[in-house]
């Protein structure tokens, strides 16, 4: 079983479209949506939930106003400025360190566990899929990412699937780090824009920091061919394979509106490029 993770640095580069296409092409696989913050893969794969569960993570302080004598100790020590002037805890600022609950002489502060999300194991027309929905305004999505990836790995090992295909999280923070852990390869989907290149460099640095080999897909390359060439030159200098150059294709949007992958919707230059990219991914895996 091998894991391939599709990441992007910047959002909106076509990560989910590529992941869903790989899902449509690969024969034996489990899909995972690790973009738990703004999960979209289900919009294309139409999953039917088979199993689900709540995800709890982190705690938030709560001050009992009946016990509180407003001594101010908690306000004084809280480095996250989470205790307000009228001795309430601002849950947005609270980092759940529990310092206040330990220090409170009246034992008026309780740490309450947060239900931060829900995970699902589902069936799709391409096979099993593990995904999650993070509660609004919650944190710790890195742990939720690890949880869904763990479940996908279990399923893949139990049922003998060859691939775990991961729709990674955007950015370079905690959720992506969790998305990348244990991956055999990371596919960076980038657009030929200054910001796209800027973010892709950061995400490459991050993947290398965690020793995951990277490959590039340049999406919508014809929006700015010079920039696309710059990205290619950058990849060449860094010894990174560019496994596909995909042009802007309105069929991709049309397929999305119909809830389909581009592979199912059309047989054209885009789908050929994506098929070749998947070939490249599998050959690396074989090597």
């Amino acid at each position: 079983m091998k894991q391939v993770v599709v990441i992007s640095g910047k959002g909106g580069t076509g990560k989910t479209v590529i992941t869903a296409s790989f899902a449509a092409i690969a024969r034996s696989k489990v899909m995972v949506d690790c973009d738990v913050d703004a999960a979209d893969l289900h919009l294309l794969l139409d999953p039917a939930t088979r199993q689900n569960g709540m995800f709890k993570s982190g705690k938030t302080a709560e001050i009992n106003p009946e016990k509180c004598v407003k001594c101010g100790l908690c306000r004084g020590i809280c480095r996250f400025r989470a205790v307000t002037a009228d001795f309430k805890v601002d849950p947005i600022s609270c980092e759940g360190c529990a310092f206040c609950s330990f220090i409170c002489p009246e034992k008026a502060i309780e740490m309450k566990e947060n239900v931060t999300g829900e995970w699902f194991v589902s069936d799709t027309r391409f096979g099993p899929m593990v995904h999650a929905r993070l509660g609004i305004a919650e944190e710790n999505s890195g742990k939720l990412v690890s949880l869904v990836k763990g479940k996908a790995k279990e399923i893949a090992e139990k049922d003998g699937h060859e691939w775990v295909i991961v729709d990674g999280s955007p950015g370079i923070g905690c959720p992506v780090i969790a998305s990348l852990s244990g991956a055999n390869a990371a596919i960076v989907v980038t657009e030929p824009t200054l910001s796209g290149l800027h973010d892709a460099k950061r995400v490459v640095a991050m993947a290398r920091h965690f020793n995951v080999p990277v490959m590039f897909i340049i999406n919508k390359y014809d929006l700015n061919e010079r920039m696309a060439d710059d990205i290619r030159a950058y990849c060449c200098g860094e010894k990174i394979d560019v496994i596909a150059r995909i042009g802007f294709d309105e069929d991709v949007v049309k397929a999305m509106v119909e809830g389909k992958t581009i592979i199912e919707y059309a047989e054209n230059v885009t789908t050929r490029a994506i098929r070749e990219a998947w070939e490249a991914v599998t050959s690396i895996g074989a090597g």
């Binding site: 913050d37 947005i92 360190c97 330990f102 905690c174 824009t193 910001s195 796209g196 919508k220 999305m256």
Partner: protein
């Protein structure tokens, strides 16, 4: 007035809108790029950076000569950032600090009965302040390999200048970094695109903003691409559509070169400036 620009999902045009607003509004303006993981606004603003400040959190350093391995520090640490290994016959015990897991709350130091813990600074990113003419620009960059952006976002927000109209370019998503960025705003602009992905993420973001009780409106980017469902949703929910930016390869090409929409197409300037008036109407409701 503090206006946050958020998007739910990345790549919908948040930076396009926030930088265009910053370049179009009259009077003194400040732009805070709070997308500390992937700050992009500077590419379009091209500010002259005047100051760079490191962002630190305080992490514990345990003095092994004083430490008695009592384990109190590990007990109070909510993040499992300290492990105390008792010694056995042959090996000495140790107290280990995992600096990347530490949120810098200071609890361990306070509760150490032996006073064996001091704190040292750990750099997690930088904040840069620059100018483009009258426009004041601030952004934060998280170090690569760091897990937590909120300390950097908070450091950017500490630069908030209430004497100016403040535009906050929020990170994507609906989790803690976004909340940290949007917290305290007077109004919010949600940028979306008229596709099923865009609509799905817009719904999530609307939930967040409603929960935070901040007046808001929507900007539909790449209008003409996709379908009508996003506008139907806004109409049903009574959400004002503040502006529609048409889908155009020319706009996308200028964006790819790092040129703001209002510089390439000055006719949009008035529309962006007018967007704030519409938001003020929402606020006075």
């Amino acid at each position: 007035m503090i206006i946050s620009v958020a998007s739910g999902k990345g790549g919908t045009g948040k930076t396009t809108v926030s930088t265009a607003l910053a370049l179009s509004l009259p009077g003194p303006v400040q732009l805070l790029d709070c997308d500390a993981e992937e700050p992009n606004a500077h590419i379009f603003i091209k500010p002259d950076i005047k100051r760079t400040e490191d962002v630190f959190i305080y992490v514990p350093r345990i003095d092994e000569d004083i430490c008695t391995l009592c384990g109190r520090c590990a007990e109070v640490c909510a993040y499992n950032a300290i492990a105390v290994l008792p010694g056995s016959g042959r090996t000495a015990g140790r107290a280990l600090v995992f600096r990347e897991l530490c949120h810098g709350c200071g609890s361990c130091r306070y509760f150490c009965p032996e006073n064996a813990i001091k704190e040292e600074k750990r750099k997690v990113g930088v904040v840069e302040v620059g100018y483009r003419g009258e426009l004041e620009f601030v952004h934060g960059r998280m170090n690569i390999g760091e897990a937590m952006s909120p300390p950097v976002i908070r450091a950017v927000k500490h630069k908030l200048n209430k004497g100016r109209t403040v535009i906050v370019d929020a990170p994507p998503g609906t989790t803690c970094p976004v909340i940290t960025a949007i917290h305290g705003s007077d109004a919010c602009v949600l940028v979306t695109e008229p596709t099923p992905f865009g609509l799905h993420d817009l719904r999530l973001t609307v939930e967040v903003i409603k929960k935070m009780d901040i007046p808001f409106g929507v900007v539909i980017n790449r209008h003409g691409l996709g379908d009508e469902r996003t506008e139907e949703y806004c109409a049903q929910e009574g959400i004002p559509v503040l502006m529609k930016i048409p889908f155009s390869k020319e706009i996308a090409a200028e964006y790819s070169r790092g040129i703001s929409i209002v510089e390439a197409f000055p006719e949009y300037r008035d529309e962006f400036a007018g967007l704030v008036k519409k938001l003020e109407e929402e606020m006075s409701r």
